[in-house]
């Protein structure tokens, strides 16, 4: 042992000596540590959703998390039944409704029990049928009272006409807002007209027939259908949330399989969307992305090593410690932070590219020693002392830069800093621990086979002076190179500020996901977007106040809340007395035994005209579903041309012909039945009993009241896709004009971006300071430390410029990894500095010749680690792969071209001292 060795070198030397002689024991030590850390791996949870990455310091995020945990509504899985493949609209509607009914039954089977808490296939009208009038606002109640105060046929039609003329005439906005409701009511009205026609013909109308028609007219369609009725929607309330990682994938898969099976039996399609489904897709696609990236990175890196070293045992000698280092990182993460998210899991894959650098340095050193004629043991010892010292300093610098992420405000970035730092240290430690004994095992095998180890490496083809051409060029024209590089940097700096931020979370998901596609389809077909805003409140008065204000906003399609079911004491009194008077009024009207034909004709003519006018408005307002529904009743086609005979036409003929005779007995009977049945239904609806929250249908209660019963949810559906364009700002600005309590994935996504930008900036500044201090400590020269930072800073400017020019955006995944680049990107300049200080002035060509190839190799492996994300289907991973690979490639170019040129200019042309102050 050399007496001049420092403490670190002595330890390395001793370890090299002992481990090559006791390679079995040394490997057992590594195995034992791996087994211990295996407990950590067993505790590790893979939380591969964006939800698991949400920042913890934002009120909006805290509200959102509370909603997800406490309201099953937020986890609702939207099952979209798509019957658009059926041409006949009537058949499509019927098939879709059949599938909804069948699927509602299917989801009651045992296999779904662990995953489903309730299913909403159609709207539960039971409460409305009993308390509908008490739940109606006083103005609307007075309107309904006017409509229903005389249920004899002619007055009933007269009041329906009055209502249409006051409510809808010339008001296409109202018609559009209430299109679904209006379609259902007009369908019921169309059926009622048919019954009147049949009665006019003398046919007897059965009770059940009339009951069905009146239900349809009074209460509408209970199914949630698209604008053209070819698609239907079901809501499955899962028993888990997006945060129940163990249930998320099997649960959503099972529900999805059921939906697709039942739909395919009727030859239509079904798909799932909503936050929970998107969460499952994130988990699956990020998992797939990571698997592909890991395999790709490992194969490429080890393949590269085989090519370079021409040594087929390299994949084992470097690959085993590399994977062991990964296992250690996973184990430590499991023991300390218990989880990996998309970002930290991606880092683990990237670690393959960084960890292998240590193996490259150690193996290169060993090979050079053997080529130089050293025996096996000496070669291992020397390589560990020479290369080991350097890589320890390098790794500590990088790890220190990573650990500075602990200054971040949010746990997400702290976790990344921890995993990244521990990853580097684990790889470093494992490489030093395992490569000497693995080389010894190889040597042992070669000797056993009768081969002499020291001749084996004659095959090694590392052309160590491959970069000498660049070195010569740098020495020849450092100023020209520095000026050219500076101009390039300045050009990119002009664009650097334009780099965009990805604020659409859906654009970060995998391309072609059904859940994301259905998100868009829902906006197009149902006129509502699944990703709206949510508000929680503990005060029902506030719920109503906010709901009413928000419902008036032009960017809001609909508001769902308990406001529709909340009646204050004052309102009870007001509505109660109005309803009691209504019952008295109903009692005062007797069923008429006659029907005035002339008046009936007049009201039917009026009704037809009202429906035609509403058809005109629907036509101009592009309300196709309404145009078709009204067209079926009035016999008008889209252009307003009369194309078929209708109940109206036949009734006009019959009634005009019989104007002197009067109506048929069947018509009188129908009038009597309508009177009785509607009277009965309205009286039931007019209950003045108090409505408590317990009386709400279970799906509404479960959706809008928290599990602990203390808070209430308001759900706001936007009119357009809230992720896209300027609409997002309009929606959120209008919401903020009413309340600042809104939350939802859009706002939470903004918080993620904000967090990433703020913490990313903060962590970057700290990482830069840490790296600068380490450089100052290492080189003991402030000028050299500053110069060494230049290529790194220039690479950032260039990266931002390229991103702005190519439209690559920062997102909350790739922006957070930027501070890691500081730790990685500085390495090359440090290596060049060390060599230049050793070789001296005028020797830059030698410096580049000796270090260039090694730097290229280590950069290449690191780039491979990050670039392995580029083929990933998840766009967040792909963009991270592109940004980081690009950044490292740029950093490499600046390190080997710009940095040496600056060193020559500063040290040799300007004569500034860059030597350590100790040596001055």
């Amino acid at each position: 042992m050399n007496q001049n060795q420092n403490f670190r070198e002595k330890i390395l030397s001793r370890w090299a000596g002992w481990s090559v002689e006791n390679w079995g024991k040394a490997l057992l030590i590594a195995l034992a540590i791996t087994v211990i850390l295996g407990f950590g791996i067993a505790r590790l949870k893979m939380e591969m959703t964006f939800y698991s990455m949400l920042p913890d310091k934002s009120n909006q995020v805290q509200d959102f998390k509370e909603i997800v945990e406490n309201f099953s509504y937020a986890s609702g899985i939207l099952v979209v039944i798509d019957g658009r493949s059926i041409e006949d609209p009537m058949k499509a509607e019927k098939t879709v409704k059949d599938v909804i009914d069948k699927l509602t039954l299917e989801y009651k089977k045992d296999i779904y029990k662990p995953y489903i808490s309730s299913v909403i296939g159609s709207v539960d009208m039971s409460l409305f049928k009993e308390h509908g009038l008490m739940l109606t606002k006083i103005d609307d109640l007075e309107r309904l009272k006017r409509s229903y105060n005389n249920l004899n046929l002619v007055p009933l039609l007269e009041h329906i006409n009055d209502d249409f003329e006051t409510e809808y005439s010339g008001n296409s906005d109202k018609l559009a807002d209430e299109e679904s409701q209006a379609v259902a009511q007009f369908k019921g009205l169309g059926e009622l007209l048919k019954l009147i026609e049949y009665a006019a013909e003398g046919k007897v109308i059965s009770d059940s027939e009339l009951d069905k028609v009146l239900e349809s007219y009074m209460f509408g369609d209970p199914y949630i259908m698209s604008n053209d009725n070819r698609m239907g929607l079901m809501i499955v309330q899962p028993s888990f949330t997006i945060n129940d990682i163990s249930l998320l994938q099997p649960g959503v898969d099972t529900i999805e399989t059921g939906a697709k099976k039942i739909a395919s039996e009727r030859e239509i399609k079904a798909g799932l969307t909503g936050i929970t489904t998107v969460g499952r897709d994130e988990m699956v696609t990020s998992g797939q992305g990571l698997a592909v990236s890991s395999i790709l990175a490992l194969v490429l890196i080890l393949g590269l090593l085989v090519l370079i070293f021409r040594m087929f045992s390299v994949p084992l000698i470097s690959g085993i410690p590399l994977i062991t280092g990964i296992l250690w990182t996973l184990g430590l993460s499991g023991l300390i932070i218990h989880r990996l998210n998309i970002m930290t899991a991606m880092y683990i894959v990237a670690l393959l590219g960084m960890g292998i650098d240590y193996a490259i340095h150690l193996l290169s050193g060993y090979i050079q020693e053997r080529d130089g004629g050293a025996d096996f043991k000496t070669a291992v010892e020397h390589s560990l002392i020479k290369s080991g010292s350097g890589i320890i300093t390098g790794a500590l610098t990088t790890a220190a830069a990573f650990f500075t992420l602990a200054v971040a405000k949010n746990n997400l970035i702290k976790e990344l800093g921890f995993v990244a730092g521990m990853g580097i240290l684990s790889e470093l430690f494992v490489m030093i621990l395992m490569i000497p004994p693995l080389l010894a095992y190889r040597e042992h095998r070669l000797i056993k086979k009768g081969k002499t180890g020291n001749r084996i490496f004659s095959k090694v083809k590392i052309k160590s002076d491959a970069a000498s051409g660049i070195g010569k060029l740098l020495v020849k024209a450092p100023i020209t190179i520095a000026v050219i590089m500076s101009l390039i940097i300045i050009s990119f700096s002009l664009k650097a500020g334009d780099v965009g931020i990805q604020d659409n979370l859906l654009e970060m998901e995998a391309k072609g996901l059904e859940s994301v596609h259905l998100n868009d389809e829902m906006i197009k077909e149902f006129g509502m977007a699944p990703d709206g805003l949510l508000i929680i409140s503990t005060d029902l008065e506030e719920v109503r106040d906010l709901s009413e204000k928000i419902d008036k906003l032009s960017s809001v399609k609909s508001v769902e809340s308990l406001a529709d079911f909340y009646v204050s004491d004052k309102e009870y009194k007001e509505r109660g007395s109005s309803l009691r008077q209504f019952i008295i009024d109903l009692d005062s009207v007797d069923p008429s035994s006659t029907v005035n034909t002339e008046n009936l004709l007049e009201e039917l003519y009026r009704l037809e005209m009202n429906l035609m006018e509403m058809g005109d408005m629907a036509y101009m307002g592009n309300m196709n579903r309404l145009v078709h529904t009204l067209g079926a009743i009035t016999g008008l086609d889209e252009d307003g041309a009369k194309v078929e005979e209708t109940s109206f036409d036949r009734l006009f003929l019959m009634l005009e012909d019989n104007i002197d005779i009067g109506v048929s007995p069947s018509m009188k009977a129908l009038q009597s039945d309508i009177f009785d049945k509607m009277n009965q239904k309205i009286r039931t609806m007019a209950s003045t009993d108090k409505i408590s929250l317990d009386m709400l249908p279970s799906n509404i209660r479960d959706s809008l009241i928290s599990r602990d019963g203390d808070s209430y949810l308001i759900s706001i559906s936007p009119t357009q896709n809230p992720w896209e364009g300027t609409y997002r700002d309009i929606f959120t600005d209008q919401m903020e004009s009413v309340t600042d309590k809104g939350t939802g994935m859009i706002l939470v996504g903004d918080q993620m971006n904000l967090m990433a930008q703020e913490d990313g900036r903060r962590a970057s500044i700290f990482a830069l300071i840490a790296v600068f201090l380490i450089l100052v400590a290492d080189f003991k020269n402030i000028k050299l430390a500053v110069i060494s930072m230049l290529p790194l800073l220039s690479s950032f400017i260039t990266l931002f410029g390229i991103m702005a020019l190519t439209g690559i955006k920062f997102d909350f995944v790739n922006i957070i990894v930027v501070p890691l680049l500081i730790g990685i990107g500085i390495d090359n300049a440090v290596h060049i500095n060390h060599r230049y200080l050793r070789e001296g002035k005028g020797e830059m060509d030698l410096v580049i010749a000796r270090t260039g190839t090694a730097l290229l190799m280590t950069t290449l492996t690191t780039v491979i680690g990050f670039a392995s994300f580029i083929p990933s289907i998840m766009r967040a991973m792909r963009s991270t792969g592109i940004v980081l690979s690009l950044a490292l490639a740029i950093a490499f170019l600046y390190s080997v071209l710009f940095h040496p040129a600056i060193l020559i200019i500063v040290n040799e042309k300007l004569g500034l001292n860059i030597k350590s102050w100790r040596k001055k």
Binding site: S169, S555, D616, Y619, D733
Partner: protein, 252 residues
């Protein structure tokens, strides 16, 4: 001395503010002049695009007049077939609609002026209020200068003088050299809900008028384009008798 200085400073600030307000008012008045012409007859084609898909082209004959300080406007649809004969009559805040399909006329409530006209992105108020000019109901404030549609413009904020105005705020862009409206942003609940842009200005009887304008709805995937085919001011085709419900009912 200090008090005098402060007073002078305050006075200067107030004067500058007053002058700026005057300037904004003058700019809007000059731009409004194009729309304040009397007895205008025009024919135009209106196309509504829903989610980028063109709906049937609506062809409209319009008549406007100012009389005794009142604004009158009548729009009659001549196409498509389904809308032929449908007409809107506005006299100040009163609005009537005549349906072509039934021949019936309905008086709408004054609040209906904010509703969409013919399924387009224009409200009845957008279509009928132009004769008065924007300065009538809004207080202007110069908000700076900006380039809009490639033209150097004054940017002026118009705040509703009372709560009856259709929009709480508008931001208008008026060209600095020709005092033409280039763009109007309409605001509701702090958000720009739709924008109208003006193109193809032509001079008719010494008045500049846009022969093409587009209303883009920012809360719905919809936009409406209007192409003016004929534009006449002081037109003999505009007759007082047109602006009565009796005439409305007689339209065929």
């Amino acid at each position: 001395m200090r008090k005098i200085l402060i007073s002078l400073l305050l006075l200067t600030v107030l004067c500058i503010g007053f002058l700026a307000a005057q300037t904004a008012q003058e700019i809007v008045n000059r731009a409004d002049a194009s729309f304040k012409v009397d007895r205008v007859f025009s024919t135009s084609s209106m196309t509504v695009y829903k989610s980028g898909e063109a709906q049937p082209v609506q062809e409209i004959e319009s008549y406007t007049m100012q009389k005794n300080g009142k604004s009158y406007s009548l729009s009659i649809y001549t196409a498509p077939r389904r809308m032929k004969g449908t007409a809107n009559l506005m006299i100040e805040d009163d609005l009537w609609v005549r349906f072509g399909s039934t021949g019936r006329t309905r008086k709408l409530s004054s609040s209906a002026k904010k509703n969409s006209a013919g399924g387009s992105d224009f409200s009845y108020a957008d279509m009928g209020d132009s004769g008065q000019g924007l300065s009538e109901k809004y207080t202007p404030r110069l908000a700076g200068e900006e380039t809009a549609l490639g033209e150097s413009c004054y940017k002026i904020e118009l705040i509703g003088k009372n709560s009856d105005v259709p929009y709480e705020k508008m931001v208008v862009f008026i060209t600095k050299d020709t005092y033409r409206y280039i763009k109007i942003d309409y605001f509701e609940n702090n958000a720009n809900i739709k924008s109208m842009t003006f193109y193809d200005y032509k001079t008719v009887n010494g008045t500049d008028y846009p022969f093409r304008y587009i209303m883009e709805n920012h809360t719905k995937p919809s936009r409406t384009e209007v192409e003016v085919d004929v534009f006449e001011t002081d037109s003999s085709r505009v007759q007082d008798r047109f602006f009565t419900t009796g005439y409305l009912e007689s339209i065929r």
